[in-house]
């Protein structure tokens, strides 16, 4: 398999073409936006934390490449139900995959991003939504909801 096929694995293409959890969930009351200054792409993550500090709703908006769209989409599926520390751990796992190009022990969907390792210029695409999500968890909830 070429580096290129590795970059655009079926899972990534699938999420890029049919992103999950696109848009702002009605109950969401926290949000943050991440920018990729190099390419002008951006990603806004909306979410709601339940009383136990777990993500009860999450969605994203913004425009980006296949990698960043797929990463945002998979991120939402991965983070649903997680607490902030758990989200940090998951993100650390992704960063590890990106840094080493090796899939994780507990093979999960994030493994699809191992191929990005060979494209250093694209690594920021794969982390954009994650930065926004972790940022959003730290914000104060909007009073309106």
């Amino acid at each position: 398999m070429s580096d290129f096929d590795d970059l655009y694995r079926d899972l990534i293409l699938d999420h890029a073409k049919r992103p999950r959890n696109r848009g702002k969930p009605p109950t969401a009351n926290r949000a943050a936006t991440g920018d990729n200054p190099t390419c002008g792409d951006n990603c806004t993550v909306h979410l709601r934390l339940d009383d136990g500090g777990r993500i009860s709703a999450i969605g994203f908006e913004g425009s980006g490449c296949a990698i960043s769209t797929a990463s945002a989409s998979i991120m939402t599926t991965q983070l649903k139900g997680k607490t902030a520390p758990e989200a940090e751990t998951a993100f650390a796992g992704l960063k590890d995959i990106l840094a080493t190009g090796k899939p994780p022990e507990d093979f999960n969907e994030l493994a699809a991003f191992a191929g990005v390792h060979a494209f250093p210029a694209r690594i920021k695409c794969a982390t954009l939504a994650w930065h926004a999500a972790l940022e959003a968890m730290k914000t104060e909830p909007a009073s309106s909801s």
Binding site: S2, F4, L7, Y8, L13, A16, K17, T38, C39, G40, D41, N42, S63, G64, C65, A66, I67, T69, F119, R122, C125
Partner: protein
């Protein structure tokens, strides 16, 4: 195309990328350099290398002569009246910063207006934002408006924008994002009638089209060597002599002073006053070789070649489903580039895919974020052509793009 034989002169073109022959279509970012330019660079270092000015030994005199010959060559290249109208800079960006900082500090007042356009490269936009803010002046924009948003400037809006408050009109000769060729001589004439000085960003035109500053009637004009077969690190700011001789220097230091005491300094006239410190001698000498190469090729012929390739590309790309082509309408003159958006594929994915086919493209906002936003895009993919590109390469591009559409397509 008769230019095919040129390829042999460009060492960088003869390589494969991911196993495919390199198809280099990122010339608006930077062009490759012909052997004669690399030879001039090597020859300078192997034979004449020395510091210029003030030096009286053989190598230093040769270095000074070579450096000043490059300046005189640049004056002839753009038909300036005098070599003293040529200031060597790092590139277009530095040239524009020089004018934006030095001229504006002396002449721009609260309530004045700097006019520019909505299609400027960040390098011809941000320096004016900063200068306007410092002076309490206002920045206004000639729109790329209405139906023409994707195509060119709204020239009908110009006269009402050229109010007596406008002190300076800065615009690009050729848009690096749209491929639009602005009517620079007309814009300069209208600005002059309105009492405004003109600054022309010639980054995309200097090494591509015939260029005559006296025919244009501009006051300042800036361009980069690396976009015209020359090396990185060298560019030219042209300014009318009377302007440059009185302009306060922007950078100060060795070489630009007539006399110095511990208390203060007096400046030399132009061009020295605007070239503080040891200049980029070797790259000025190499740029001389690039200008010779360009004129041996013939800039009218080069422009025709680039325009023809762009017209062909526009034609072939227009047939690709879901492709939105920016810039001049079919039949209108188009500089040597095509810029486009695909419905289902993001510019960065397009560039990564094309790279697998050996094709070098540029994707993104092309240092033109506000225009992208105005056009409702986050970026485009751009293919830009130069002397060594061929119609075959455009066919390769079109084929690759069709595969990309299929690969990323939602169908």
């Amino acid at each position: 195309m008769p230019f095919a034989a040129l390829r042999a002169d460009f060492p960088a073109l003869h390589q494969t990328v991911h196993g495919k022959p390199l198809v280099y279509l990122d010339n608006a970012a930077t062009t490759h350099k012909p052997r004669v330019v690399l030879d001039a660079l090597a020859r300078y270092y192997e034979r004449d290398n020395s510091n210029v000015h003030r030096g009286l030994h053989a190598l230093s005199m040769r270095a000074t002569d070579s450096y000043e010959a490059a300046r005189a060559r640049a004056a002839r290249f753009i038909n300036a009246a005098d070599p003293a109208e040529i200031v060597f800079t790092r590139g277009t960006t530095e040239g524009i910063n020089l004018v934006a900082q030095s001229w504006c500090a002396a002449h721009l007042r609260q309530g004045d207006v700097i006019l520019t356009t909505e299609m400027e490269h960040h390098s011809n936009l941000v320096p004016w934002q900063v200068a306007a803010r410092r002076a309490g002046a206002t920045l206004r924009f000639v729109p790329v408006a209405g139906d023409d948003a994707e195509h060119g400037l709204d020239l009908d809006a110009l006269d009402s924008l050229l109010t007596p408050q406008v002190k300076l009109f800065a615009f690009t000769h050729i848009s690096n994002t749209l491929g639009t060729i602005n009517p620079a001589a007309e814009l300069c004439a209208r600005a002059r009638r309105a009492g405004a000085l003109t600054v022309v960003d010639a980054a995309q035109s200097a090494g591509h089209e015939p260029l005559d500053v006296r025919a244009l009637g501009c006051d300042f004009l800036a361009f980069s060597g690396h976009k015209m077969a020359g090396p990185t690190g060298i560019g030219i700011l042209y300014g009318r002599r009377v302007l440059l001789d009185t302009l306060e220097p922007w950078q100060t230091g060795g070489g630009m002073v007539a006399s110095v005491t511990y208390e203060g300094a007096k400046w030399k006239p132009s061009p020295e006053r605007h070239e503080a410190g040891t200049p980029n001698i070797a790259d000025a000498v190499a740029l001389h070789a690039a200008m010779d190469w360009l004129d041996a090729l013939g800039r009218p012929a080069l422009a025709a070649h680039n325009h023809a390739l762009a017209a062909l590309a526009a034609e072939m790309l227009a047939e690709i489903p879901g492709l939105r082509l920016l810039g001049p309408r079919p039949g209108e003159p188009r500089a040597g580039l095509v810029s486009f958006a695909l419905k289902d594929a993001h510019a960065h994915d397009v560039v990564t895919f094309a790279d697998q086919d050996g094709i070098a493209l540029r994707g993104g906002h092309h240092c033109n974020q506000p225009l992208m936003r105005k056009l409702g895009l986050t970026g485009t993919t751009r293919a830009s052509f130069y002397a060594y590109n061929s119609a075959d390469e455009i066919t390769t591009l079109a084929t690759s793009l069709r595969r990309i559409v299929k690969f990323f397509g939602s169908a």
